[in-house]
Amino acid sequence: MVNIKEYTHLMKAAIEDFRRNKVRTALTSLGIMIGVMSVVLLIALGLGLKNYIEDQFNSMGANLVMIMPGSGISGGTGAGMVGGAEFDERDVNSLIRIPNVKYVIPVFFKAAGVEAGGEKKNSYIMGVNEDYFRLMNKELIGGEEFTKSDVAAGTKVTVLGYALADNLFENPTDAVGKTVRLENLRVKVIGVMEKTGDNEGDNAVILPYKATYGSLNPKKTFWSLYIGVESKDQVTNVKEGVEETLLKRYKEDDFSVTDQTDLLSTVNQIFNIVNSVLIAIGSISLLVGGIGIMNIMYATVTERTKEVGIRRAVGATQRDILLQFLTESLILSVFGGVLGLIFASLIVLVVRIFFPAAINLLSVLITFGISSAIGVFFGVFPARRAARLTPIEAIRYE
């Protein structure tokens, strides 16, 4: 066993040695540092991606059930364009009667140009009702939302997405009070939403669904229906109720009912693949770092074989030699690993300004363990070879 006194001596000797060989020390630590840093960073980015996607879903409202035309979420948009159910106010009225349903929001959706003061921009027109803002957690940075009576009367007012307001006017909030034109329809801007980061939301023109009746939506139909459920645990029951209600009017393949968990599990499947790829890339950089460590350690021990012989000649045991190199490589590995972690954390801190990257303790521990193991293995392996030579063989080694 190594006693404390022997160990402090070994540590001191190792640190003294690093001071003597700054370049070698720096290079070895650098290898480990880069390995640890890249793996921790890649995993942090992977987790960030997951957090980002989950945030996006949560911002849509946790108790959301979506009804789409067609038979599945993946084909939803396309199917809606070519076939499947076309929902209308009758569906809204029958769905609101299902127990525990808090909101039913008709969603008319159309990509169209919007004009103001001679400028024309692409936008996504969404005809909805006043509950949309609550269900989707939309906040305004200026003006106000339209009300229930605006929806009932089909008042020609709109709330713009942040990017659209910003592109059409000097300041996004300048939009409030101005008039914009959607094809032949003139509507007054009464509010601007805060920035969301998703393209559709930031370029939305949101207006009372009845205001779209006419040239925009002559058939008075909706692309989708959003349902707000009173609480999360009622989502499954509500979905069943919705399906039952809609089956009275449509065929099974003409609509699909999805909620967050369906979407999230699909997203999680994708995320797991992305994450595996990131971990694979990270492992490669750890391996490359490991080979770097191996080379330096190997060169170090080889270059110091004569020294090993001299130490043996004055009384060092094989174990003394092994412990010396073990201590050195352990310190180098831990030092390099800590540096890698610090750099990774700093980078993650900066990245977090734009993207919810996150450092995961388990990944840190595993990475740290692997890089230290590589450092120690390749530090001790050649040292063992040197220690096993007879002292005179080691002294004569060139």
């Binding site: 001299i310 000649a313 004055v314 009384g315 045991t317 174990r319 063989e393 002294i395």
Partner: protein, 228 residues
């Protein structure tokens, strides 16, 4: 009769490719406590190999070696290391100092490997020895910044720091000019006379061997009656 070192029919051979090189052939030899002995022989006769065997830097292929009463073939690595550390001091022709270490650090190196509590203060003893051998001023120098004679003195101090019973000096003057060589030989003679250290001196020069009290001759790995 008490012996310090005893060799019984010792062989040492090396395999070089398909060839077996016999460096030491059937050597039997007894060296008593406090002897000052010279081992003479031409280059390649096996002197160094014999010294390495006595100093436990390698093991014989055949035969027995007893050191300070112990059969060394029966010892573990830890026990062999302990003898190298405590009982034997080696002085090489090419000094074999660690160039990354200062003179002082080189001298203290054996004390780091003592598995027993030292009965002396290593630093105080090192300073004392450095002063005695006139290299105290050089204690913070690196070996390649001092003269050959000074380096050999450092090596001698390193060999002495643990208070050994035996000093093995393998052509210690081989890399030095004759005046410096004389000084080193005087130091070794003194160690034997004043401190009773058993000194074995290997050389191929007659006038150097003449300084020792007894000479042994080796030729082609075998001990011979004096030749020439």
């Amino acid at each position: 009769m008490f012996y310090m070192i005893k060799l019984e029919n010792v062989f040492k051979s090396y395999i070089l490719g398909d060839e077996e090189v016999v460096a030491v052939k059937d050597v039997s030899l007894t060296i008593k406590e406090k002897e000052f002995i010279g081992i003479m022989g031409t280059s390649g006769s096996g002197k160094s190999t014999l010294m390495h065997l006595i100093g436990l830097l390698e093991q014989p292929s055949k035969g027995k070696i007893y050191l300070d009463g112990k059969d060394i073939s029966k010892l573990t690595d830890n026990e062999l290391s302990k003898i190298r550390n405590k009982t034997v001091g080696f002085v090489f022709q090419s000094f074999n100092l660690i160039n990354r270490f200062t003179v002082f650090e080189n001298i203290l190196l054996p004390t780091k490997y003592s598995k027993e509590l030292l009965k002396f203060d290593p630093k105080a003893k090192a300073e004392d020895l450095l002063k005695r051998f006139g290299i105290y001023e050089r204690r913070n120098f690196f070996p390649n910044k001092i003269s050959g004679g000074q380096q050999q003195r450092v090596a001698i101090v390193r060999a002495l720091i643990m208070g050994p019973k035996i000093i093995l000096a393998d052509e210690p003057t081989g890399n030095l000019d004759s005046k410096t060589g004389e000084e080193i030989l005087d130091i070794l003679g003194n160690l034997n006379r004043e401190f009773g250290v058993t000194v074995i001196l290997v050389t191929h020069e007659h006038d150097i061997a003449a300084k020792t009290k007894r000479q042994i001759y080796i030729k082609d790995g075998q001990l011979v009656e004096r030749y020439l």
